[in-house]
């Protein structure tokens, strides 16, 4: 996030960092093995000859389309709702904001299945909001694609909020103050000064939220159920297939890994920047 370091300074930092104690290499290698070996295990188990057929089966295509669609909508919702929230949390001087920040992080640390139950008892037919919606509009949220999007937004939002809020704090409000003293209105300051400053953090937040939404399982199966084409996203399809057709489950897992790697490649430069900042 602090792209302002001179190249010389960066070089110096690298030279110092190069002397890693040998003792660290052993646990570091183990950590790396823990991350990479399972993927290799999956690759070894993959039936590559049948891979195209398995990935283009009706159930797989349904799951893929549903996953991409819901994760995309969830990410848009995360941006529309999460960015304003991040700015409010970072800038507001109102008492109690610290508590609010902790509450917002809840889905990040909560087991997703607990989140799913909570959503069910809010928006389910017996939940107070769900009951109200059912009675007034006749709409029932559980078992719908909308429920999938709500579950994904619930679990993914904190990633965006944390990412953007950190950037807002790091950036400070000097530029905005200057813009304001020069006569810019708050909305102009927000669109012309604040937003451009937040773009890198927003980008990494978007990628992380999308990845989290795409991988969402526990809250979805608890709150939205599992039905092909409606609520059975890729992770749920993998779970269902693992009961009977392991080859198909492995093929779909491979697909999710490829998407995950694509996400990392997209997000990597920002993430590295974030670590240094």
């Amino acid at each position: 996030m602090s792209g302002g370091e001179s190249p010389g300074k960066e070089k110096h930092a690298r030279a110092v960092g190069a002397r890693v104690p040998v003792a660290l290499w052993i646990p570091a290698t183990l950590a790396l093995a823990l991350v990479t070996l399972p993927v290799i295990g999956l690759l070894l188990r993959t039936d590559f000859a049948r891979l195209p057929a398995l990935l283009t089966s009706e159930a797989s295509l349904h799951a893929l389309r549903l996953s991409l669609l819901t994760a995309a909508i969830s990410t848009v919702l995360c941006v529309l709702l999460g960015v304003p929230l991040a700015i409010v949390l970072a800038r507001s001087r109102v008492r109690g904001v610290r508590v609010l920040r902790a509450v917002v992080l809840l889905p990040l640390v909560l087991p997703p299945v607990v989140g799913g139950l909570a959503l069910l008892y809010l928006l389910g037919r017996t939940g107070f909001l769900g009951y109200l919606i059912d009675v007034t509009t006749g709409v029932r949220v559980p078992f719908t694609t909308a429920a999938v999007v709500i579950a994904q937004t619930f679990v993914a939002m904190p990633f965006l909020v944390v990412s953007v809020e950190g950037a807002v704090r790091a950036a400070g409000d000097d530029f905005e103050s200057v813009a304001a003293t020069l006569g810019a209105r708050p909305w102009t300051v927000f669109t012309r000064v604040t937003c451009p400053l937040l773009l890198p953090a927003l980008a990494s937040g978007v990628v992380l939220s999308f990845a989290r939404a795409l991988g969402e399982f526990g809250a979805t199966i608890t709150f939205a159920g599992s039905l092909q084409g409606v609520t059975r996203t890729l992770p749920l399809e993998v779970y269902a297939q693992a009961e009977a057709d392991v080859d198909s489950a492995v093929a779909l897992s491979l697909l999710l890994i490829v998407i995950a790697i694509a996400v990392i490649v997209l997000a990597r430069p920002r993430a590295v920047e974030g670590v240094r900042g």
């Binding site: 029932r140 559980p142 939205a224 599992s226 039905l227 269902a240 009961e243």
Partner: protein
Amino acid sequence: MRPVWCALVMALAVAGCAPGSADETLTVYAAASLTESFTTLADQFEADHPGVDVQVNFGGSSRLAQQIAEGAPADVFASADEAAMDVVARAGRLAGKPATFATNRLTIAVEPGNPMRVNGIADLARDALTVVMCAEQVPCGRAARHLIRDAGITVRPASEEPDVKSVLGKVRAGEADAGLVYVTDVLAENGTVDAVKVPEAAAVANRYPIATIADAVEPSLARDFEKFVLGDRGLRVFKAAGFGSEAGAGS
């Protein structure tokens, strides 16, 4: 820093003395629909065998079968249908021939008092009804599809759940109007859901096989437990839970 250490030490202490220091541990993998009966049987078996701890892992039969086929350390497997047991047999992980110990049949679980007036299998085709059932990969889903096909109706479920207890949960929570579950599941609920009789279900009754797993950690204990389940004590527990017996299958 100190509170963190205290918490860690306490967590380790709790983890260390969790299920007691049993001399032998028997690991049983059992279908989700056996949750109540096998919990009772495990307790009785432990009472008969001091120093033995029976750990039962309940889940969808197909998933358990896959796990055992992949080498999960089970001593005994009790499945909700023969298809799931066949998966383990094909993987060469059975020590002996499976024996049937109970039968079970489907029923329609509805909210207490049956507010949606579900009277039989044909009602599940109603559009206004939110129906949940098991996914076709698990025994209760296989039986449900069989039943629906035999009835000549089309059912559009709102969700296909990974095991029968999840179906029951959706009905109990009031999210589904009707769910296809086993008669034993409704009995175990003690009135939180009602059952609608489905006479046609007798024709698609599940048979529950049990078998000892090859290279079991506790082979003799595993065979003892299998005999115990197949014996009089087992029969009594299954009868009380609403299971049928092989002789009177479908009755």
